[in-house]
């Protein structure tokens, strides 16, 4: 797909002329920015990108990208994108969705898209709240959360997004943060490079209705103790001075201090191609371990995607055969 445009496209080319209407301080700005930074580097002509979104604050993003774009209906971006990609395998399709859009109303299309492994990139802007409708809880809001629609605190437990995606058969699962520009760029690139459905969850701060939800992962003071950035074939380390690590005790992940007893060599080594490890990683938050970011899982089997779909050349004979069937007769 390399073409001469590769050298000339810049992030500017991806800015549309529409005024951006997110609240000041919204994490969506940062994600938009990184997307505009990454797309020009992918060697794809601008007119081959399509952004498909549902409804929500995050789903406004396509208006701000100077590519082809569809702002569809609530929860259906995944289904719309499926049809677009099935019929136009030549396009680079990016789904822009929120936690309400993708996980509440749109949950079914999401899991089926993952199961079918449609070659699109899903960017799930997770702010753990309904932004556009002004602050109701979402299926990933933490338990007991007080919101406009849960004045006494929510009672339902939230989805574990990574487990849900893996459980649905996702072949590429990653996570990043609005505030981590570099990391986000890398994840977006990996997502693009992967052939198949890429599920990318992006923690995004809603400044107005759920401010600070991810502070513990972004705050200078706390983040080093709460976050593990995964790297392929690298051990799982964290802590202010990288003084902690994760080991696998059989199949159970545990925190250890790196000291004479526990050297770096015995640690849980990240292998994104190992599904069982990915499942264990997806449980980290439930076991009180630090939250993991990066490419958590990537199926290593190479896929040949079906691209056998095209406008029918006007083969009049074949069509006339279809019309007549093979049981016709003649009246003279």
């Amino acid at each position: 797909m390399l073409d001469i445009e590769k050298n000339v496209l810049t992030s500017k080319d991806f800015e549309s002329n529409q005024e951006i209407r997110w609240c000041p301080g919204c994490g969506d700005f940062a994600i938009l920015k990184q997307l505009q930074n990454v797309l020009p580097t992918l060697g794809i002509p601008k007119e081959n990108f399509v952004m498909v979104s549902g409804i929500g604050c995050s789903s406004r993003l396509p208006y701000y990208m100077n590519t082809y774009g569809m702002h569809t209906i609530h929860g259906r971006a995944t289904a719309v994108a499926t049809g677009l990609k099935l019929s136009r395998p030549d396009l680079s399709v990016w789904i822009i969705t929120g936690d309400g859009d993708a996980l509440s109303i749109g949950g079914n299309h999401l899991i089926h898209l993952l199961r079918r492994d449609i070659d699109v990139n899903i960017l799930l802007f997770n702010n753990q709240i309904y932004g556009l409708t002004k602050g109701q809880f979402s299926p990933v809001s933490e338990q007991n959360k007080i919101t406009k629609s849960s004045p006494n605190g929510t009672t339902d437990k939230p989805f574990n997004t990574l487990s849900l995606a893996l459980g649905a058969g996702a072949s590429f699962v990653a996570r990043s943060l609005d505030r981590e520009a570099k990391h986000l760029q890398e994840v977006l690139k990996s997502s693009h490079e992967y052939t198949g459905a890429s599920f990318v969850e992006i923690y995004q701060n809603c400044h107005i209705f759920n401010d600070g939800a991810f502070d513990k992962y972004t705050d200078r003071k706390t983040r080093k103790n709460n976050v593990i950035f995964l790297e392929q074939n690298k051990p799982l380390i964290f802590g202010e001075n990288n003084e902690f690590g994760i080991v696998l005790d059989g199949y159970k992940p545990k925190i250890v201090a790196l000291d004479v007893n526990n050297s770096i060599n015995n640690l849980f080594i990240h292998d994104k191609n190992d599904k069982l490890k990915a499942q264990i990683l997806s449980n980290f938050s439930e076991f009180g371990l630090p939250e993991v970011f990066g490419v958590i899982y990537e199926n290593s089997i190479l896929k040949k995607l079906n691209t056998d779909f095209q406008s029918l050349e006007n083969d009049t004979n074949a069509i006339n055969l279809l019309i007549s069937g093979n049981n016709s007769w003649r009246v003279l």
Binding site: E47, T82, S87, L312, I319, V331, L332
Partner: protein, 615 residues
């Protein structure tokens, strides 16, 4: 005996248990009939269950064929010959017999077990009772005769029993002076891999035929002349297949790849099955989605991508598409949604026919979301109206609803099929570049139709959505004046389509008169039959059949005003009649029969006669 009686038209019904192979003999008889040059119409009637309990009323499967030397418009109301393989089959079909009916009954199907399963008391004698009503009942032990015929065959007992449908077919072939060759050839092909089965079926078929010839029980044989059909090439066609073929034709004619997405539902599923079989050969994309919302949403995605995007569904599935249809209206993308109607409300009676989704098609969306609605009126008309639906969708950049129904979907008729070359051209609105300084995705031509700029086209990058759009630019707009204007434009665009469809014709009768019988969809045959009969009786009557239901043909109001009375016959509780009353302020009268079946010709006729008296 065995006088040969000449007949103009004949209705035959094969009825038996779902396992008795009635659909197969019905289809064979149909092909044979068609190839002999008769006109015909069929109506297969399945039970709701896959295999309802054997022998019960719920398990009866039937195949009805009406054929003749004259034009045939319906599968018929009353049987000339009724073949019943068991007591339940008889019970289910008594209603449509009269004193001219000949019944052929397999008496093995009337033993005490079968009587009980059919809900009879032990000492009921249904075959004796029915004799009072019909012309003659031929009681034949088909099961036993079949088993005797196959005494030598190596196939097992169950398979032998299954051959009895061939015996019945053989008898009926004899009655109607048919030749067995074609059916034998069919059996040869079907069982080419199992010669004992092949031989058994052929033998039984022949035995049935010979039984007619050699026994003396039959009073007559029947002779039906060829129909005076237009010259040309014919095939048998049912509505769902016609629809599927039309989609492929429209895609090819408009130079668009065909994207077909659906979720299985009776009676639309056969369209999926048909197109799935053609997927490779005709380079189409067939997508079985996880539900109807996904089916239509993915079609909208494919339409944005430049495909001819089509969905098929029925009642409950249609309901689920409501929201996304609004999106397609707002985005002004081509899309065809085929609703093969069945009896509602809710799950209703999935294996029965109905015309109850018209008002939903016209009005059933939130907001002002007008779109064209078309309806097919016969199995072969499913081809033409589907093609028209695609043409309008593509040329006017709009979603279109095409209404068919279970009766059309499964019914067969001979079709003087067209050549692909002779089909109307379809011009898609794709553009590759723009003269505008900035591309305006919502600028319009004189018919208020916008252009179609698909991804991959340089310099035409743009965004569309379901939020209200500024005129021309398509940018998000919350301006009140713009909104009103856009609502009017979208409505006007659809109304203008009236200029691109044929004027309303009168099917039969004069352009003015005492009464016009107005119909749409699958009531065509019933209304046509009644109208013919009444024209023969010198009544001042006309049949008007509306295929373009929204917008109506431009001349419709004037046309309808030419009759003293307008009677609208529908298989619903009054829907088209509402549209006519509202738009034309004509005191149109509803005639409604909603029994999961085509309107009964005789019932409609009495109503018309009543109305004519009051004229």
């Amino acid at each position: 005996m065995n006088d040969i009686v000449e007949k103009q038209k004949v209705v035959i019904k094969f009825a038996g248990d779902s396992g008795d192979g009635m659909q197969l003999v019905g289809n064979q008889f149909t092909y044979n009939t068609a190839h002999l040059g008769h006109d015909l119409a069929t109506f297969p009637d399945f039970p709701a269950e896959i295999r309802a309990p054997q022998g019960t009323l719920a398990g009866v499967s039937g195949f009805q064929i009406h054929f003749g030397s004259v034009e045939i418009d319906t599968p018929g109301d009353v049987y000339d010959v009724l073949v019943v393989m068991n007591a339940a089959a008889l019970k289910n079909n008594i209603k449509s017999t009269n004193s001219d009916t000949i019944i052929i009954a397999d008496i093995s199907g009337f033993d005490s077990k079968n009587l009980k399963l059919a809900g009879h008391l032990a000492d009921d004698k249904p075959l004796d009772e029915i004799k009072e009503k019909v012309k003659v009942v031929y009681e034949i032990d088909i099961t036993k005769l079949t088993s005797i015929a196959l005494a030598e065959s190596s196939i097992d007992a169950k398979d032998k029993d299954r051959c009895k449908n061939m015996f019945a077919l053989g008898v009926v072939y004899w009655l109607y002076e048919r030749d067995l060759d074609e059916t034998i050839q069919y059996i040869n092909e079907k069982f080419s891999k199992n010669s004992s089965l092949k031989d058994a079926n052929i033998l039984t078929l022949q035995k049935g035929f010979h039984f007619g010839e050699t026994t003396e029980i039959f009073h007559n044989r029947f002779h039906v002349l060829k129909a005076k059909q237009q010259k040309g090439n014919y095939r048998g066609i049912n509505g769902n297949e016609a629809l599927g073929i039309a989609l492929i034709c429209a895609g090819a004619k408009s130079n668009l790849p065909l994207y077909f997405s659906t979720y299985p539902i009776t009676p639309a599923s056969d369209i999926l099955h048909f197109l799935a079989k053609k997927e490779k050969e005709y380079h189409i994309k067939v997508f079985q989605a996880e539900d109807e919302i996904s089916a239509i949403s993915s079609a909208i995605g494919a339409s944005f991508g430049g495909s001819l995007a089509v969905c098929s569904t029925s009642g409950p599935g249609m309901a689920l598409k409501t929201e996304a249809l609004g999106l397609a209206v707002s985005m002004e993308l081509p899309l065809v949604v085929c609703n093969i109607q069945r009896a509602g409300p809710s799950t209703g009676m999935p294996t029965k026919t109905e015309q109850t989704d018209l008002l939903q098609a016209v009005y059933g969306r939130n907001g002002e979301a007008p779109l064209p609605v078309l309806a097919a009126s016969s199995p072969s008309d499913c081809f033409y109206m589907t093609y028209e639906a695609c043409r309008i969708a593509i040329e006017h950049m709009t979603p279109v609803i095409l209404l068919s129904d279970l009766f059309l979907a499964n019914g067969t008729e001979p079709w003087l099929y067209p050549k692909f070359e002779d089909l109307k051209p379809i011009n898609n609105k794709k553009i590759n570049s723009t003269q505008q300084e900035v591309f305006l995705p919502f600028s319009r031509d004189e018919n208020l139709v916008r252009n179609w700029a698909i991804p991959g086209t340089k310099n035409l990058e743009h965004r569309i959505g379901g939020i209200e759009k500024q005129q021309d630019t398509g940018s998000v707009s919350y301006d009140g004046d713009n909104h009103q204007k856009m609502i009017q434009i979208r409505a006007e665009k659809v109304n203008k389509i009236a200029q691109f469809i044929p004027n309303q014709d009168v099917e039969l009768g004069e352009k003015t008169g005492d009464i016009a019988i107005v119909g749409w969809g699958s009531t065509y045959g019933s209304i046509r039959t009644v109208t013919k009969e009444l024209l023969n009786e010198d009544k001042s009557i006309a049949h008007i059949h509306i295929k373009y239901l929204h917008p109506f043909p431009s001349n419709l109001k004037e046309l309808l005003s030419g009759y003293k009375k307008v009677l609208v016959a529908e298989i619903n509780n009054g829907q088209l009649v509402k549209l006519i009353r509202e738009q034309f302020l004509i005191d149109a009268i509803p005639f409604n029969q909603i029994k999961g079946q085509p309107i009964k010709v005789s019932d409609l006729k009495s109503e018309i006669l009543k109305q004519l008296e009051e004229c």
